[in-house]
Symmetry: C2
Subunit: 324 residues, 2 copies
């Protein structure tokens, strides 16, 4: 498809997980059978074959793209020296040390899928910065899971029931506190801030978790069992938002001065207030997009297919520069 | 700004209108005083100095970007042979002959501002195509003027009163029929279709104008005076949309099979139904963005500043490829 439409030949030269990899030094990369076997092995819960340290594997070169779809803390910086390009869906290298972000993103790098998967929020933000119309404020609903919870609250359902359903549907992490704690959203806020050109660190984002400290150390089962104790408080917050003509949203608010992540009351006729379900949304308030009419992007912000689409688009975008 | 942030030095080498131009062969291009003088002359309604055919002006080269902010029918194809890049806010070269679109857009070209100004609808669509997730359907509200009219109808105001206000506010062309006729929206529909990879021609777009043929040949004053005869019909349509739980929108609907432009009833809880005022909006329905949850972009789609921002972002995007 890409060779025909774009004159770009994509070859998978190496596929790695935390313990091993399959590689090919062939110009055409791994063949379909080898790729299918590796994918099938991963689906069965197996690891890839251990890395054979006695074999010479070439490092990344100027025509290579290192694609990170892990949730690892390791940065891609070792690949930069070799001239390889980087495409990442992994938030951690971009929301850790500010100097890593700087070094990674200076060039030959795309990180669209770190925020809202393939929804081109990072691309739009980079275009705004390029047009000297950098935002004065960015507001976003950046968690499909928490969007689902907020829509449920808006519809008058008990918090505990919504979270249990989200867990059953696979919308939450195995431990729902990983979503409800807000740190995942905070990482995205840091990436948006840095992409806008603002200093930002995870430690300095004010995060409002959706459960009290007392529930932090329980087992998952005990946590789920304790959730009904929070229902009355969330019902009261949702009712107050409704009385004020709005709806509760779990939002990231990012400005040059800092970032906050937590509950807000969004007017029903605002883009954020009109959001429902698991969709993500980002609002960019700028000089051009002013007076309460921001640039808005909205769409599915999670899932394997959406993330793969974002990663692939990033690769093609870089390939335009790689092509001779 | 751009030299510092992006390592890209932008120089205005030539500034032209339909009758003349000011140019500089200097590496730094026209200086600020020359640019300010040219802009001031245009603001006074004057023309640029006539083109001096005895002077050698170089043609576009591989480091040049030809920027078209006119509404001219002329294409940019003469510049392509010389290797120059093209950035266009002008819809006409892209919505005319299909072969021109093909030749123009194959490479070294950006046309973001032809649709919804700087709202990155074209960039998003190109990313979708690159990710092999081309839309099955595109729906858009692509006229701020008609958006203003639709919001007025939704609020129960008479059609004639809304159009008169839009004209007084400068939202319409001097002859409001240029907006109400829908051809401007149809051109954008053609550009979206072609960018998605679908054959499309302006002649084959089904366009629903918002005034009857009988009013087409009147003077502008007579047309404005005749508008109240349409009020009852539009009020009935708006009421029917409301009764059906929706709102009237003037939308472009584009699929691989063709494009239509005209009135639709959008559910109030859909992105299109939730739109208000002069904002533009584009929905992309794809395999990834499915089940009634399209990828949505929304924002100011007209105005000199928004268009300039889109053009500048396009230039920087191309410059990344130009840079050595």
């Amino acid at each position: 498809m890409h060779a025909e439409k774009f004159g770009v030949r994509l070859a998978v030269c190496s596929l790695a997980d935390s313990s091993g990899r399959v590689s090919s030094d062939d110009r055409d990369g791994l063949d379909d059978a080898a790729l299918a076997a590796a994918v099938a092995a991963k689906r069965r819960g197996e690891k890839l074959p251990p890395f054979d340290a006695t074999t010479e594997h070439r490092d990344g070169g100027a025509h290579d793209i290192v694609v990170d779809c892990t949730a690892s803390d390791a940065t891609h910086l070792r690949w930069r020296g070799s001239g390889a390009h980087v495409v990442s869906a992994n938030k951690k290298p971009f929301s850790g040390d500010a100097s890593d972000f700087e070094a990674l993103t200076r060039k030959r790098c795309r990180w669209e899928s770190t925020v809202a998967a393939a929804v081109p929020a990072i691309a739009a933000l980079r275009l705004l910065v390029a047009a000297d119309d950098a935002p004065t404020r960015i507001a976003g609903a950046l968690s499909g899971t928490l969007g689902f919870v907020m829509t449920g609250l808006q519809n008058g359902r008990p918090f505990s029931e919504i979270v249990a359903e989200a867990k059953a549907l696979g919308y939450t992490e195995p431990d729902p506190r990983d979503d409800l704690g807000g740190v995942d959203v905070a990482r995205k806020a840091v990436i948006l801030a840095r992409t806008a050109g603002w200093a930002s660190d995870l430690e300095r984002v004010a995060v409002e978790p959706l459960f009290p400290k007392e529930l932090a150390d329980l087992s998952v089962d005990a946590f789920m069992a304790a959730l009904p104790t929070l229902d009355a408080s969330f019902a009261a917050k949702a009712a107050a938002a409704k009385a004020a003509g709005g709806a509760l949203r779990y939002a990231a608010t990012v400005t040059p001065d800092g970032a906050t992540v937590g509950l807000v009351t969004a007017p029903l006729d605002s883009p954020l207030g009109g959001l429902s379900g698991t969709d993500n949304m980002v609002e960019f308030h700028t000089a051009v997009y002013a007076d309460g009419a921001p640039l808005v992007l909205r769409g599915a912000g999670a899932g394997a297919e959406a993330t793969a689409a974002g990663v692939l688009a990033d690769m093609l975008d870089l390939a335009e520069n790689i092509r001779p």
